[in-house]
Structures are given as C-alpha cells and as structure tokens.
C-alpha cells in the first residue's frame, strides 16, 4: 500500500528541484531496445529516457526484463554467451553500441552496482575504492583524496577511515555494498546503474544507501531497479513499469513521474501492481 505521506514528501522535493538546473550527469536514451538470450526474446521495444538530475526507477514483478534492460545500458548484457540486443542506446547523443564506442569506455562512463556486494577480496578497502581507477588506467595523483571523497559520498568514510588497509571482504554486508558504491563513484561516472542494491541489506544499511542515492543524484544520473515499491517512492522521481505476459518478452507498460504512476496510473495493470494486487 503506498503511503500518502511518502508521496507528499516526494511532491515537496520535486517542487523545490524544478527542472534541476546545474545537474551534471549523462543523459541516457534508450530507443526501441530489445534483448535476446540465444533465440529467446526477453525484452522488446523499450523506449526510455533517463535524464540527468533525476533518479529513474525500473519497477515490475520479477522476470520481466528489468535487470536485463539495465545490463544493456552499460554493455554487460553482451557478456553472456549467445546474448544479443536490438535498438539503440544513446549516452549524450552517441550510440554506445556504435563503432565509435568501446565496451570498456562505455562502462567507465556508466557505472554499475550489483545486487550482491562484490568487493575484491584480496584488496584492502582503500585499494578497492581505487581499483576502478587502476583497472581503467586512469592516472590520478590525489589517491588519498579520492578514497576519502568516494567513501564519504557512499556514507562509509566515518566507519572505515581508521582501517583503510584492512581487506575489503572483512566488512559487513551493508558496508560492503557501500564500499562497492564508493568504488563505482571513484571513477566519476556520468550514470550509475543500480541493480536491486538493497535487496540483500538490512534496513539500516538500506537507509544509508538511499541517502547516498539522494546526495549523488545531482552529479550522477541514477537508474535503479527495485522490487520494493516503497523504495521506489522514496528515492526516485521517474518510474518505468515493466511487465511480461506469459511466454512474452518484457515491455514497458507505462513510464512517467513517480507520483503520477503511483497516484494516477493510466494503465490498469500499473494500478494493480502499485496497489499490491500482484507481483
């Protein structure tokens, strides 16, 4: 059941934000995107624009292609043997699947945080944060500052600042996930994709992560897949509702501002979903 107070606070936030002037971050536009695993079409005809300064949530029941769509946005989908995509995805006007863009450069500009935290176990916390820079060969001289800044943005600095040399795998689940967020932010991506980042976390860590999302939404375009409708209400101001009928590929049923989707959905299926009647 959607909470009216949550909607009210969302409205208040939007009223202040307006058109989000000065927001940096990339503009992602998906045009007629489809995705296959081998011969099976799992996603069809997706059109979606994810704008800077906004947090876009992808919602819908499980198995409808939300995560698959997310992974097409940073060219992780093609890593699976036999996977294919159709359509185009534009980052600031340039097709990321075109000849001008390579997967590695795309992924530097479009970062990702995964469902299960995956810090590198053989590296220390500080090295984990810097690993993105090392792996992409980005040379920076202010390593110490980067570590502090990224961990602060991820809301982890105060907890680990005294043990930056300890292994990344020694942290709790919530801390590990925030470490992964810090790691992703350290390379200063224009877009950050988050695939159900809180589903394995306790409520306290979830709250911290959501605070982080709000703080970074001005500098980084955030696209988040979530099962949790309350979370979608809390963090996002844009929403896209995915649905797949039986034996059919996933499609976007409805997309719009979060408030509109939750209070005044145009499609009856959207209304059923946000009111908890299925999914």
């Amino acid at each position: 059941m959607t909470d009216m107070s949550e909607i009210a606070s969302l409205e208040a936030r939007l009223a202040v934000a307006g058109d989000v002037p000065g927001a940096s971050g990339g503009r992602l536009e998906a045009r007629d995107v489809s995705a296959w695993f081998g011969k099976r079409l799992v996603l069809a005809n997706v059109d979606l624009t994810m704008e800077p300064g906004h947090v876009t949530a992808l919602i819908g029941p499980s198995g409808c292609g939300k995560s698959t769509f997310l992974r097409t946005l940073n060219r992780m989908h093609e890593l699976v043997h036999g996977a294919a995509i159709g359509g185009e995805i534009f980052l600031d006007g340039v097709d990321i699947y075109g000849p001008a863009a390579s997967p590695a450069t795309t992924r530097r500009r479009i970062g990702m945080v995964f469902q299960k935290p995956n810090p590198f176990p053989t590296m220390s916390i500080a090295d984990n944060v810097l690993s993105g820079l090392k792996l992409s060969r980005i040379k920076r001289t202010d390593a110490g500052d980067i570590v502090e800044r990224s961990l602060t943005r991820a809301g982890l600095w105060r907890e680990v600042k005294d043990r930056l040399k300890t292994p990344g795998g020694d942290l709790s689940g919530g801390q590990q996930q925030r470490l992964c967020i810090a790691r992703a932010l350290a390379i200063e991506p224009e877009v950050l994709l988050m695939d159900e980042p809180c589903s394995a976390l306790d409520p306290g860590s979830t709250r911290r992560v959501e605070e982080t999302i709000e703080e970074i939404s001005h500098q980084v375009t955030v696209v988040i897949v979530t099962h949790n409708m309350q979370q979608a209400l809390r963090v996002s101001d844009r929403c896209a509702f995915f649905l797949a009928d039986e034996n059919e590929p996933g499609r976007i049923v409805e997309a719009g501002s979060t408030t509109q989707l939750f209070t005044n959905p145009r499609d009856s299926r959207t209304e059923d979903y946000v009111n908890g009647r299925f999914g």
Binding site: P121, T122, S131
Partner: protein, 352 residues
C-alpha cells in the same frame, strides 16, 4: 514459569558390542587353529599363515552369523568385513614403504652425504665419505628449469581455457592436455633426446632434463590451475568489467590474484609429480659423479639418478648411499605434498 528444556539428542548408531565380540572370538579361534595347523604340518611363512587364518576366520564368522542373525544380514556383515579388510590392504604398503625407506636410509644420512660429491669416492669407501651434494644441486636446477617453463605455459593455457576459449576449442585443448598427461615418462625423455640431443646437437645437460620434466609437469599444472580459476566467482569478473576494465586487466589484476593460493598449489603439485622422476633423466642428463653447476652444459646428476645408479651396485656402502638418497627424495615429496594440501585447505576456507 517452567523453563523449556532444550531438546536432547538421541544416538542413532549404537556400537554393536555383541557383534564385535562375536567377530573377535572368531578371529581369535582362527588364529589359534592356524597356529596349530602350522605347527603340525609342513606349511610355513607369514603370508601363508595370514591367508589361512583369514580364510578360517571368514568361514567361522559366516557360520556364526547365519546362526544368530539370519542369511540376509549375514551377507551384509560379511561383506562389510571383507570390504574393510581388502581396503585396508591398500594402506598397509604405505606404512611398510615409509618404514623400510627410513630404516635403510638413516644409516646413510651422514654429514658427508649433504656436503660432498661422489667424484673422489672409491667403491669401497664407507658412507661417511662422499655424498649426494651434486645430485641435490642437480635436482634443484632441473626441477627449477621445469618450473620456469611449465608454470607460465600452464597458467596461460588455464587462463585461455577458463576465460577466452569457446566451448568447442576448450574441449579440444582439454583433450590434448589429458593426452599429454598420459605420456609415459620415458617417452618424454626420448622426445627431448631426439629433438635436442640428436637433432640440435645439444649434448646431455641438465637443461634437457628440465625440458623433459616440464613436458611431464605441464598437464598437472594446467589442469589444477584451470580448476582453481573456475573457482573464482563470476561476480568479481563482472565487477571488474563494470568498472571499465579491459579483459586482460580483469584477468591479471583481479582473477589471478584472487586465485593466488590455488595457483601455488598447482605449482607445488606439479613439482611433487616430477621431483621423483627417473626415466626421462636417463637419456637427457645422464648423470655424473662430480658437481656440475652449469645446467646448460655437460652431464648432470640428480637425486633419482644418484639413487638408481647406486641401488643396483653390489657393494653395501653404495647401496646405503642409495637408500639415503631415497629417504631424502621421499622426504622432499612428502613436504611438497603436505604444503599443497595445506594450501588447498586454506583455499577451501577462503572461498566459502
């Protein structure tokens, strides 16, 4: 408020004291009867005693069981006894071999053994003159060369199989690696002999021996390394790629370091495999009595060659030296084996 008692465990397996007593009684009776039999008849020998006693024991036990628990469960019990006793046969040689080598080898472990070579030693000299220093150096060098060649090859092949190769190509190469692991060690020696000694005119050297050993070591290293790389979670690879790393950096900076312990295990297992190999050395390094610290030129001894050459010598002093060499060899293999096991156990704990 009455406290809730915590549940008590019940044992499901009870020690069958009566059954054990039955078996024990039968065994005792069999031994006694056999002893009597051997005393009054011309039969003799420990082996014969053991076999006869065992046969008697089984017959008696079978009879007792039929009378007490019936034919169906009797078969099960008999089978248990037979399987257990046959299985234990496997482990008896382990004790016998280790014990025998220690017994025969310790007298030869003099100070000279580790500090001197056989160059100036006459055939009748006692074991505290002359030693295996040249052989130990030779083994270290030859095995070292084998490691230097087969580890890069093996790890790179393992990386190819686990990261880059398509399914069909991977199957072909795995098949070839398995084929290579079946090469008899003497054939590996023959190959290096024909290629390097004959065709390229190198002559006998420690290098050739190292090459032959690397042919034998490579499949072990490759297979173990591949298994270890497969244990690295896919999520780490994804994380590295999502940060914008090219494939090769993902492998070198993330996958290989994560698999570090397992890769060391692969190397140690490979070394344990070839440290005791003798046959390929017979035609590549040939062996010598004196120290040769240059592996690239000239015949070189090694521990297995040292042992093999001396063990067939009719003189007792030489044979003692050979046993000492065997003891050192087996000690090296045991140490390597234990190191590999401990590393593997730590790996299992880390990836849990």
């Amino acid at each position: 408020m009455t406290a809730i008692a915590s549940p008590e465990r019940r044992a499901t397996r009870h020690l069958d004291v009566a059954g054990l007593a039955q078996a024990g009684a039968c065994a005792l009776m069999a031994v006694v009867v056999t002893a009597l039999l051997f005393a009054i008849s011309p039969l003799d020998g420990t082996l014969g005693f053991g076999l006869v006693a065992y046969a008697l024991f089984l017959t008696a036990y079978a009879g007792v069981l039929t009378l007490t628990i019936g034919p169906l469960k009797r078969n099960d019990c008999l089978a248990t006894v037979i399987i257990a006793s046959v299985a234990l046969l496997t482990f008896v040689p382990l004790v016998l071999i280790l014990g025998f080598v220690v017994l025969k080898g310790v007298p030869g472990l003099t100070n000279a053994f580790f500090t001197q070579t056989m160059e100036t030693v006459g055939p009748l000299d006692p074991p505290d003159v002359g030693g295996a220093r040249h052989a130990i150096v030779g083994t270290l060098q030859q095995v070292g060369i084998a490691v230097l060649i087969s580890v890069p090859f093996g790890v790179l092949t393992a990386v190819f199989l686990s990261e880059f190769a398509g399914r069909r190509v991977a199957r072909v190469i795995r098949f070839l690696v398995d084929a290579m692991s079946g090469i008899p060690s003497i054939v590996a020696g023959l190959f290096i002999y024909t290629l390097f000694v004959l065709r390229l005119g190198h002559g006998f050297s420690g290098l050739n021996a190292g090459l032959a050993l690397s042919v034998l070591m490579l499949p072990t290293v490759t297979r173990t390394a591949e298994e270890v790389l497969a244990l690295v979670p896919g999520s780490l690879r994804e994380a590295a790629l999502a940060l914008g790393a090219p494939d090769w950096r993902m492998v070198v900076r993330v996958v290989l370091p994560t698999a570090r312990t397992g890769l060391i295990t692969a190397v140690v297992l490979g070394v344990a495999r070839v440290a005791g190999e003798t046959a390929p050395l017979l035609m590549t390094a040939l062996g010598s009595d004196g120290m040769n610290t240059n592996p690239f030129e000239g015949q070189q001894s090694s521990l297995p060659l040292f042992v093999f050459k001396l063990i067939r010598n009719p003189l007792e002093g030489q044979v003692t030296r050979a046993w000492a060499g065997a003891l050192v060899l087996i000690a090296i293999v045991l140490v390597l084996f234990t190191v590999a096991r401990l590393a593997a156990a730590r790996l299992r704990r880390e990836t849990r």
